[in-house]
Amino acid sequence: MKHYKKPINSYIGAVLITSTALVFSPVEWIPTAHAASCCGGGSASSLVLPKFSKAMLDVSMDYEHYDGFWDNNGDWVEDPEGSSLNQYRINMGYAHRLAPNWQGSVTLPYVFNQNKYASLERNTNGIGDGTVSVWYEAFEKITCVWDVKNWEDLMPAIYMGGTLTIPTGTSPYDDVVDNFDITGRGAYRLDASVLIDKTIYPWNMSFGASYGKYLERPVNREYGTYVAPYHKQYGDRLNTNLSFGYTYFTDEMESITTTLAYAILKEDEARIDGVIDTTSGISKESVSMTMAWATENRDWVYKLTYSHAPSRDGWGENFPTTDVLTVGVSHVLR
């Protein structure tokens, strides 16, 4: 429960509290769980093509349920009575090998917003923000091993990449009716990423981090109403995750991998006409579990992920508290 706010007279002479929050966009806060690790078989990492594979198709569906939010003090606050806020996403991804150590990928979500309040119900849909990525593989051979015989067997797979997020979604600055139409943030973002993945069967561990910088954009419309033009730049974004997995092999050498992951998302305050917006800035922590089943040849990977953010104080700031259920399938082309 949020603290009681005293009547304004009580604030005379008090230290002014600076509050922070985010511009609420209901999409893209949870990195979509794509299938296939560097070895094939699946982990909760980015859309990464297994080494030596030619291409990969990935389709997944997310169901994201909103359950309150964290305020700028990190206190969890419940949603209004009678509300049911959900978002469904169909995510499509394609990864392609560009060179022996280079791969590229594109992703595009289609978003369905389902907002129900006691006196208001709005169901909208549209494409979300797409991404284009390029990854460099800083290793020459598959690094997944069964036994550690020498120090080389300990070498992880290291990927370094860049992602451009393209504002193909509907933002508050498009010709929208209101905030319920929003499916994207409305700004380009460049991310530099690193992914370190090591498998010593049956165990796997991976660490991913990305640092993103939004490009400044002009704004001349808010929720469909033209306003005096200004420039806006969202704050820099840091996304990190750490995961541990265990793989079980069937007699037919199909694999079932269970992965537990912990992720932290932080975004700095935005700038409007160069001035810091102290009401912006976000953070969120979440945990997830992924089950991935891969066929014997690792060409098909089926995945189920549940991502959970606790409805408790201290797990986020200025951000909706959500749980996400993802089901997906990937097909690797050799």
């Binding site: 008090a14 929050a21 208001l120 933002s171 808010e222 929720y223 306003v227």
Partner: protein, 194 residues
């Protein structure tokens, strides 16, 4: 293999459909900095800055009527400025309303009279608005918490989450835009208040 081909075709088709859908999204892909605001006839009734706000009645947390004209010149409880903030009790809404509460209100204490209204357009009843205000820590605060149960006020001002309305004592709209940093609100209050 045919399964894979079908999947590829579906992906290609989807990308095409989505691509077509993206054609009207150039506001984000190629955002414009040109001022597209239309001309406003001063003194006309409407929701744009420079226009006169039509009178409205809305319930407060006690079930009493909050009537705009009561807070204008000649009304029963006149103010120098009326500030309305549209909230759906979301993170950005709370951050903005907290910012008004802790940063803006104290700056103008003792300078004229300002009515700060927090307009809840999602809860649907006074009792639900009360519960939401309580969960967000505003019961007993200096805000007038207003229950826009049928979104009449929201529609009147073409409002949305975070939209802030400022109305002077003559009923003229001075601001109708996103709260952003709060600087515009502060500037307007500074100009309007004695």
């Amino acid at each position: 293999m045919s399964y894979a081909k079908t999947l590829q075709q579906l992906l290609a088709l989807s990308l095409l459909v989505f691509g077509l859908g993206a054609c009207d999204l150039k506001d984000d892909l190629l955002p414009s900095s040109s001022d597209q605001r239309g001309a406003v006839t001063t003194g006309s009734t409407g929701n744009m800055p420079g226009q006169i706000a039509a009178d409205f009645t809305i319930k407060d947390l006690n079930g009493n009527d909050f009537i705009l004209s009561d807070h204008l010149t000649g009304g029963s409880n006149p103010a120098d400025v009326v500030v309305l903030y549209f909230t759906m009790w979301c993170p950005i809404c709370l951050s903005h309303s907290d910012h008004i509460y802790t940063n803006v209100m104290p700056q103008f204490l003792g300078r004229g009279t300002v009515v700060y209204g927090l307009v809840d357009y999602v809860s649907g009843s006074v009792s639900a608005t009360y519960a939401a205000a309580q969960a967000n820590g505003y019961v007993g605060s200096s805000y007038s918490i207003l229950a826009d149960v049928d979104q009449a006020v929201l529609n009147q001002f073409n409002g949305a989450m975070g939209i802030t309305i400022v109305i002077d004592s003559d009923g003229t709209i001075l601001m109708n835009e996103d709260y952003r940093t709060g600087d515009t609100l502060v500037q307007i209050l500074d100009q309007q208040l004695p």
